[in-house]
């Protein structure tokens, strides 16, 4: 760039002016980093030439803490990982314990879990969409996102007694059936929501400013994304068809007819489109689950004290951010020997250095937003 400009004596300007790289510290207390994420960005002019992520500000030692609790007592703490999609975290953990116990969860409980999971996924995507759009400069999207998210949180409150961290599932099933009138409210939400998603798309998808800020920004190829173990919409934005709900079905996801939205270019725009289309698919799944809700028990046969056989299990669910995995080790006692969380935000964040290289500094904020990270899950 600077080399093309000629100095007064005809020599390239670069020889006359001394230029050097600038190191810029972004975060950890920066609103656009979505939590306490700190990035050390090396800049050449406005271009990013290198980036280092510094994380761990929110490390609470959750994996250690679990080892001092019984299997049941450890359940609520996982809500605190990804605190905007708590139900999905809970599902991952109880699913892993059920797998180790070889426990059959009743069909009805599986369907109720699907309904709550997908509602939570929509709530997460709405909050993500609002904050991401706010980062890029579209302020009004946040209000709409929060408004619809409230409706979902109200549904959670009515059913689970809690809005954000409901500790939704016990090991073996679900606690409650839908309360009286809940299903009608939920169906009304399902009817209204597609129009709202249309509104979001009207606001953003065709918006010239939005497109200019997101298209071709933060590109990551499919091969790079696979090699970096990215998952969720961040991986699917690059065109890789990997959704745990389809690939390794759990909780009766094989019963439902839905599509996995895929991107092509692996840029911020495609990741945005994937998530917005995922919301529509989630609505489809909820409708099918409510229509086909089977009769039966709410909870499988679990003892009061849970003592899985000695051994290990790895169970993954498609959380809002990507593949959420729990690796649990039991020594045949009441307490877990080891619980490890494969946190999708943590691993997706690895991709940021590849995405940001060569981008403008203003785009870094858009790229962080497009990864949909929650630092509670990154740092655990």
């Amino acid at each position: 760039m600077a080399g093309d400009v000629m100095g007064p004596s005809g020599s390239p300007l670069q020889d006359v002016l001394e230029t050097h790289e600038v190191e810029l510290n972004l975060g950890p207390q920066h609103p656009a980093t979505h939590g306490v994420y700190r990035a050390l960005v090396r800049l050449d002019g406005e271009r990013v030439v290198g980036m280092e992520s510094i994380i761990g500000y929110l490390h609470r030692g959750i994996e250690k803490w679990c080892e001092y609790r019984t299997w049941t007592q450890a359940t609520p703490v996982f809500d605190r990982l990804d605190y905007v999609a708590a139900v999905l975290n809970c599902h991952g953990y109880v699913g892993a314990v059920e797998k180790l116990l070889n426990l059959e969860v009743p069909k009805k409980a599986q369907y109720i879990r699907v309904v709550l999971d997908e509602l939570q996924r929509i709530a997460n995507h709405l909050l993500w969409l609002g904050t991401h759009a706010l980062d890029v400069g579209a302020q009004s999207m946040l209000f709409y996102g929060i408004r619809e998210r409230e409706a979902i949180l109200d549904l959670f409150e009515a059913m689970l007694g809690q809005r954000l961290l409901p500790n939704a599932y016990p090991i073996g099933g679900v606690r409650f059936d839908f309360p009286k009138g809940w299903e009608a409210v939920c169906r009304r939400f399902l009817e209204e929501m597609p129009k709202k998603v249309d509104d979001y798309e009207t606001l953003l998808t065709g918006n010239r400013i939005w497109v200019q800020r997101t298209k071709g920004v933060g590109v990551i190829s499919a091969d790079q994304a696979i090699a970096l173990s990215l998952s969720g919409p961040t991986l699917r934005g690059s065109g890789v068809n990997f959704d745990v709900r389809k690939a390794l079905p759990y909780s009766s996801y094989q019963d439902f007819d839905f599509e996995v939205p895929l991107g092509q270019n692996g840029d911020v725009f495609d990741r945005y489109l994937c998530r917005v289309r995922e919301m529509r698919q989630s609505l489809r799944i909820i409708r099918q689950a409510l229509d086909g809700m089977p009769e039966g028990d709410l909870k499988g046969k679990v003892g009061r004290i849970i003592r899985p056989p000695a051994g290990e299990a790895y169970f993954t669910v498609e959380a809002a951010k990507g593949q959420l995995g729990y690796y649990i080790v039991s020594e045949g006692a009441e307490k877990p020997w080891r619980v490890h969380v494969r946190a999708p935000s943590f691993i997706n964040l690895q991709g940021i250095e590849t995405m940001c290289r060569g981008a403008l500094i203003a785009d870094v904020v858009a790229i962080i937003g497009s990864l949909d990270i929650v630092l509670g899950e990154v740092d655990r």
């Binding site: 994380i55 090699a227 970096l228 173990s229 690939a247 000695a310 299990a313 790895y314 690796y327």
Partner: protein, 235 residues
């Protein structure tokens, strides 16, 4: 080769964490013929269940023979325990072999088993995006024994290995940037080791202090360390 990893005979009981009373019992056992709890069989962590070998595990067994052994699983998951020396070779084979095509490193972590002969395990969870099969690959390590890095096979192993290094102190040989990731820079110890107290240095001090009263450590690290040392030596 296989036996060497699995169990090198019944050697002296592994140094258990709370084995303080086991050693003194051993000495009078010579005088007393009926040793009360002398054959306290060194409890070892071992998974129960059956060995499941899926397609990639069988391909591995054919190709690498003795270096690969099946691991039992109570829930029907396929898993293998491999030789540390051939780990990278095996992981590369799993990634590149068209029959396995396990191109996705889903997870990498470690676990600490102080009662086992080999105290540490590094666990790789692999998945094939094409074929849809998964495999767990494990490797066992002594305390302080380095593990070859998988960053050459999957760049995504970078942060996962850094995390395992933080939490368990496993050294990954050849890792390009093995520094702390989740813990503070000046943190000492590895929290997910079993001997590490849940409350950290604070709890350690409360336990070791003579009056059993909580003593709050000053912010200054050097000062705090001095107090902990004093308390530990009962002064």
């Amino acid at each position: 080769m296989t036996d060497e990893i699995k169990a090198p005979g019944p050697p002296e009981p592994p140094p258990q964490e709370a084995g303080g009373d086991a050693a003194p019992v051993e000495k009078p056992a010579a005088a007393k013929p009926a040793a009360p709890k002398a054959p306290a069989a060194p409890k070892k962590w071992e998974p129960t269940g059956e060995v499941v070998l899926n397609a990639p595990a069988q391909a591995l067994a054919e190709r690498f023979g003795e270096s690969v052994r099946g691991v039992k699983s109570p829930c029907g998951e396929a898993g293998v325990l491999v030789d540390k020396a051939r780990l990278v070779e095996i992981l590369t084979f799993l990634r590149d072999d068209p029959g396995c095509a396990m191109n996705y490193l889903s997870d990498l972590t470690g676990a600490h088993y102080p009662i086992n002969d080999k105290k540490f395990e590094v666990v790789y969870h692999l998945y094939s995006l094409e074929k849809g099969h998964s495999l767990r690959v494990k490797v066992q390590l002594e305390d302080g024994e380095p593990c070859p890095t998988a960053t050459g096979v999957w760049p995504g192993a970078d942060w996962m290995e850094r995390e395992a290094h933080d939490m368990l102190g496993i050294v990954f040989e050849g890792h390009p940037n093995l520094k702390v990731i989740l813990l503070p820079d000046d943190f000492e110890g590895h929290p997910l080791r079993k001997e590490f107290p849940l409350g950290g240095a604070q709890e350690e001090m409360i336990r070791s202090n003579r009056y059993g009263k909580p003593v709050y450590l000053p912010d200054d690290v050097e000062e705090a360390r001095k107090i902990v040392e004093e308390q530990r030596h009962g002064r």
